[in-house]
Symmetry: C2
Subunit: 626 residues, 2 copies
């Protein structure tokens, strides 16, 4: 859909008014449909499949070089800004890192007037148990409400119009080391939210809250007996070793599953066709794997669940007995692809372990996997068992430093979400090129304190650069083109029908790249390093805008956000080792940057409206000729 198409309806000031009814979201049952509206952006992943693809094409590969900054909005908060803005009707919403303020910005006003700000006033002590900066990955819209999580373990529902709190539900304890940083997904009237704290020995879980009342409908733990994990009759693991009962207990030393991690701090996706949600679980705790012999199910795994009951349909463990902090929380995109001549219902998942997986989402079986970064920690995946094959030389022994393990703890890719274009049929992957030296050390569980047991120092991977932005063909499961970046690319990706891909860098560049060729078309230097998720929307004026939060931080930017000592590579769980030079490139500072193509300043609003009218008529004529 073209952004300008909506101009057909209107002229002059009447335009805005005429568009308003179109730019609202009516009821929950329409969310599947509403999320496809290219004018708006209702959830961080754009749609339930998390494609981050926009059908807008006013900004395209030919004109994006003229992109200008339209306006800026400072969030008033420092620390890492990982969230995606939302656009609902004529309002843009941003949620900040701790103290988790939700700002509503009126898009009908030039430069974006602040409508209201809501703050849940989270406990300051929550900052002390957040493993890697105090980030928030975004909010979600449904039923006239904005839902998001607070660092101190509350999910809140805020009236999208008034900014009034509707409900606030407590879901965890900072005294247990729990925090909440992930973006909810709202499915069929349920707000799906999980916890963070894999480095604090929490017990991971996903909860479904009733969107209307905030009451917990079901909770699915990642570890423990099947009744807690919501594994029952309808469950069938894709590989034989997943079908024993109570694996969440039996694959652990006694009671270790209670403090075993498997947090749910990443992405949830949904397939309305199969009526299944998909999400991953974090690393097992502690990082010192010698303290937890066994597979440590269901950490570093993916679950497919019924959104109504939470019951698992299938589960697959990306990394049984993870030894590298290779969480399984990365997003699994819901795609329908033609593979070997057959239309397949798949998930595409760039795993921390360095493999890009394409799997059958009906049953969890791997269709194909390929390394998308240099991998020496594994030699492949056993397609019969579904288990990665460890390179024994790289399995770290307690008290001993194992050098040059690739990929490092943050993996080939971490939380930073990729995009998929139905036009090119390619994935666009922001990711890392990091290796590490890793030494497991003995640690003891003390409630609410770090439970890691590892000394890690990361370094750049082969080539010396630390990041990649990669276009990837999921059908052939192979690289199409690739850009090398100085730092890990810790932002999300966005791809549009204009065949432009957007992403940001830790050294402050926001870039537009040709989706087909990978050629850089445009770049702008923002105030701080970018770890946010770019989005695009159509403004009330019919123009296409691109928006992204800058504000360095997160795990990759912790050296800046935490003002850490660059002489100690072990800082930030080893990430300082790979980012000692980052403070030379960026300071902190959270701000929303909104870009658009230039608008002629000599034209009056009326003249523009007339132009739009003429354009619309021309479009209409063109339509008749087709």
């Amino acid at each position: 859909m073209k952004a300008k198409a909506i101009k057909q309806w209107c002229a002059g000031l009447a335009c805005v008014a005429a568009m308003l009814p179109m730019r609202t979201v009516q009821a929950d049952q329409t969310l599947v449909q509403a999320s496809k509206d290219p004018e708006q952006w209702l959830m961080p992943g754009k749609d339930y499949g998390a494609t981050r693809f926009s059908a807008l094409d006013q900004i395209d590969a030919r004109n994006v070089g003229n992109l200008q900054m339209a306006w800026v909005f400072s969030t008033g908060v420092l620390n890492g800004h990982e969230s995606a803005p939302l656009v609902v009707g004529d309002t843009l919403y941003v949620v900040t890192p701790y103290p988790n303020i939700l700002h509503a910005i009126d898009l009908t006003k030039p430069g974006g007037d602040l409508k209201w700000s809501y703050t849940p006033n989270p406990m300051a002590a929550a900052q002390g148990v957040a493993c890697c900066d105090v980030v928030n990955r975004g909010a979600a819209y449904a039923e006239g409400r904005i839902f998001f999580n607070t660092l101190d373990n509350h999910t809140v529902a805020v009236d999208a119009k008034s900014g009034k709190e509707i409900w606030k539900t407590k879901l965890g304890e900072i005294d247990d080391g729990e925090t909440m940083t992930m973006a909810p997904l709202v499915v069929k009237g349920k707000v799906l939210v999980g916890n963070s704290g894999g480095e604090m020995g929490v017990r991971g879980k996903l909860s479904a809250l009733d969107a209307g009342s905030g009451k917990v409908v079901w909770t699915a733990y990642s570890t423990g007996p099947d009744k807690d994990v919501l594994i029952g009759d309808g469950f069938k693991a894709p590989y034989a070793d997943g079908n024993e009962p109570d694996l969440g207990v039996t694959t652990w030393p006694e009671n270790a599953w209670k403090t075993g991690g498997g947090a749910v701090w990443g992405w949830v996706t949904y397939d309305p066709e199969l009526d299944l949600i998909f999400y991953g679980t974090s690393n097992p705790a502690p990082w010192n794997h010698a303290q937890r012999p066994g597979d440590n199910k269901w950490t570093a795994s993916i679950f497919a669940r019924d959104p109504d009951t939470g019951m698992a349909k299938w589960a697959y463990q990306w990394n049984p007995h993870d030894v590298y902090d290779h969480d399984g929380v990365n997003e699994s995109l819901v795609l329908n692809l033609k593979i070997d001549g057959k239309q397949r219902q798949v998930l595409a998942h760039a795993a921390r372990n360095g493999y890009m997986y394409v799997m059958d989402r009906t049953n969890g079986r791997i269709i194909s996997y390929e390394p998308y970064v240099p991998v020496n920690a594994f030699t492949g995946v056993d397609m019969k068992t579904g288990r990665p094959i460890p390179n024994e030389a790289k399995v770290p022994e307690p008290g001993k430093v194992t050098e040059n393990i690739c990929p490092a703890a943050p993996g080939g890719k971490d939380w930073q979400p990729m995009a998929f274009s139905p036009r090119t049929q390619w994935l666009y992957v922001p990711h890392n090129n990091l290796c590490m030296d890793f030494k497991p050390v003995q640690t003891n569980y003390i409630r609410g304190t770090p439970f890691v047991g590892a000394e890690v120092a990361m370094t750049a991977g082969p080539g010396g650069h630390r990041g990649f932005f990669t276009a990837w063909d999921p059908v052939k499961n192979q690289k199409v083109w690739q850009i090398e970046e100085k730092f890990p690319v810790w932002s999300g990706a966005l791809v549009t029908a204009g065949d432009v891909v957007f992403y940001g860098t830790l050294d402050r560049w926001f870039k537009a790249v040709d989706a087909k060729s990978g050629k850089e078309l445009w770049r702008f230097r923002t105030g701080s390093g970018i770890i946010g998720q770019p989005i695009t929307f159509s403004g009330p004026d019919g123009r296409q805008y691109v928006a992204v939060l800058a504000g360095v931080g997160g795990w990759a930017g912790a050296v800046v956000a935490g003002n850490l000592d660059t002489r100690v590579p072990y800082g930030a769980l080893g990430f300082v080792g790979a980012t000692t030079d980052l403070p030379q490139y960026t300071t902190e500072g959270g701000a929303l940057y909104v870009f658009a193509l230039p608008q002629s300043r000599t034209q009056s609003a009326d003249a523009q409206a007339q132009d739009a009218q003429a354009e619309a008529e021309s479009d209409a004529r063109a339509g008749q000729q087709q």
Copy 2:
């Protein structure tokens, strides 16, 4: 001088190299000359006269509508950003509010690479004694060094190339309520710096430090005996009542001068012709005037001093026995104007009391004064005595609320510096339209705590808007044109040879206005309210840039920066009363915004250089024809 003129020298990449020698500052004795170089910006007021006029004209009234944001740099600090960036050679410097970080940015790199950041690590407790946010008004360049003040009363000299600290001199005690927020002025190898704390009962002073060593050369107190005030043989007050000995003692109740304010937190200007510096002193302490009968000299005054010795040539008290917090610290621009057919050496001063003064800077006598805002606190100035004539109905009595006093405590204008264009011969004044209700209350001096004694609530002045941007003819001493602004205009002003005036607003707009007509030509919405001082410079690429710090705060923005309760109008010494709605318009967030005219993206750098060459040749031909 045109920015493009420098392109004559160079083509392609050689251009940058060729320009480098031109873009350095050689020695201190050239600072008078160097400050006139339009390519650079070496001190906040641009030149010693503080005209804030730039001879650059690449951006002009016809093309400024096309101005685009070139890049942004987040300072990493919240709170009010009042400082002016400096441009020395190819480096841009910004100093932040507490913790007073100095960032150096490489202008030869696209988007402005951070070269280094220097932090003086001021004591956190200094924040507790800063009256009105923790601002810093800027740095100054001389002799290869950047000089600035820290909130905890140090002046630092930093090597402009390496960022290494050269010296750091302690000048005051936070335990006495002292802080330092003003921008130094460097004159003849001396760094002139003063203290803040008129609301804490400090004893005001200006010190001259040796630029080489940081050693104090002289200190001139604002109150106390003549030997402390550096009043001696060469002193002659412009009006009779200023010539008694030791007025800094005799115009006070016993010992009250020791805690009587007269802080020096505003602007210092310099006239090389007369070899005199000019600066003002703050309100007397406490605000409750009944506790300090007498003139309270030399608070709310202006001094003319010999920069070598500090000895006063003359002094004039704007507001004897100030009863409204009408400090005298506003800048006094050094101008040579033709008045009544005679060339006069004058100072132009928009006083807090609402009068625009044009005075003879050789002797301090008033040439003319006119109200530039609604004034009801005074009925005029007695031209024989030089004393403002109080409107007795508006003199507040202790324990009683006097309503609707105009102008309010922050005056018709506060610190926000005005500009002067030699082309239009007009002043461009960012200022306030504020009145107040004022109730003096008894207070006691307790060292290092607020010493105010007043309950104040400000309101909008006549018309209901709270700010003005005014073009003012200092010869006729009358208004030329005026723009009404919703909020007090708390930013500085900039005027250029392109006949464009720039200023910023608390509600996030950065505006360009036609210097002749006052017509708004362009506006951009930055991330946070603007209280910084805009500057312009010529980049290494020969393009003219305009730069300004956004980041709301200061006294006017304290309601946001201090997260104050908007239900209590007395907050921020009464400023909350006039800014209760400001949090609806802006959040905090310090960032430098750099603007330029669009550069065609289709041209290669070489093609641009060729264009520049052709342009230069054409300019040369045009020159021959003149």
